[in-house]
Symmetry: C2
């Protein structure tokens, strides 16, 4: 379902080049639960952004469901993302003057015009992550771990077939982390594909395989 062939990504700022991905080869099948580990700056989020159709590689092939993504225009990509992919960002990316439930509802606005159904799906997602009593709070009125959980709920609300989670438990205590892993295992057993970046090995071990990255490569 996800295939990367010799992916490279180079950032260029002011004549300084950062070669963030140096030839990534990866095959992830539908229904896999893959954990990605590696040191800070090794290229994990960069890889995830390409897989999530949020960024384009500098060279190499990337195929999502057999489709070559880089040739599609922005609208097509946005449609694919809203239908197929749920993304939990490392820095959450919540909208600030917007309540928790409105943030969770966002992915549904693309494809779902039934306001009542959207509200119900959003409330279910928030309740799944234990935040029913915080749905009207804005991000600055939430703890770090609560913001992280709103980001997780938002990634699940449109029932995507692929969940990409970048450090989903970085701000969560052990008990809450295990609850989130329980949710991910549940989704995986329903056939969803999960790709998760984490720096905690006991969290990584919820996946069926662990991929290690170092200096832009898989080792």
């Amino acid at each position: 379902i996800i295939e990367a062939i010799d992916l490279h990504k180079t950032y260029s700022n002011n004549n300084v080049k950062v070669h963030a991905l140096r030839g990534i080869n990866l095959k992830i099948n539908e229904g896999d639960f893959v954990s990605i580990m590696g040191s800070s700056g090794s290229g994990k989020s960069t890889l995830m952004n390409i897989i999530g159709c949020l960024d384009i590689q500098s060279s190499g092939e990337f195929l999502l469901d057999g489709m070559n993504i880089q040739n599609l225009n922005e609208d097509k990509k946005a449609l694919i993302r809203s239908k197929k992919i749920g993304f939990v960002f490392q820095s959450f990316n919540l909208l600030s003057r917007t309540t928790a439930i409105e943030n969770v509802e966002l992915p549904l606005l693309y494809s779902n015009s039934d306001g009542k159904l959207r509200k119900e799906l959003s409330e279910n997602a928030l309740s799944l992550v234990g935040l029913s009593d915080r749905k009207d709070h804005q991000p600055t009125q939430l703890s770090g771990g609560q913001q992280q959980r709103v980001a997780i709920a938002r990634a699940m609300v449109n029932d995507p077939s692929i969940i990409l989670a970048d450090e989903p438990t970085g701000n969560l205590d052990s008990k809450t982390s295990l609850e989130i892993m329980g949710i991910f295992k549940g989704l995986n057993s329903q056939g969803k594909t999960i790709v998760m970046i984490t720096h905690e090995r006991d969290i990584a071990e919820f996946g069926s395989e662990i991929i290690e990255m170092k200096d832009g490569r898989i080792i």
Copy 2:
């Protein structure tokens, strides 16, 4: 050096009250290295913000170096913070159109008018966290763990006597986390007081004691 007596903090939004701290009693001596753990939403960051003179309690006493902070005006508090406290925020709070080294330099602008010395201290702090080669990058050009390390460098650059770190390794791989703990142990052995919130028990154990919070109380 830090004393809290029956601290309460209640947030009020739209008639909904959140009783975030419910009677905190705490004594931290100079040179202590205290770890704070507890579930998401238990009040850890709220307590840290009061200790760091960034927020005021709703009731109860808070003393920093024997001084009652809540009676001081904003300028006095800002001066105390810039001289005595280094704060690593859970969400980093880096300035966005500003390079790593400029972000690290910020606390020095208050008290240090020697541009050459500021630059040297900032470069040392960045090198300590392994980011010399990223000093001219802006936050969006840094990985999550690199942003976190810039926040850590900024908290140390003015040589504060108290370091307050809210989840300082939440986005760091194990090796980098241990390097940061090595830095904190080093500062502690120089006599600095360290208060650290973390959800990872092996990180918490670098402190000399672990305080557990639950539902706004210390248990």
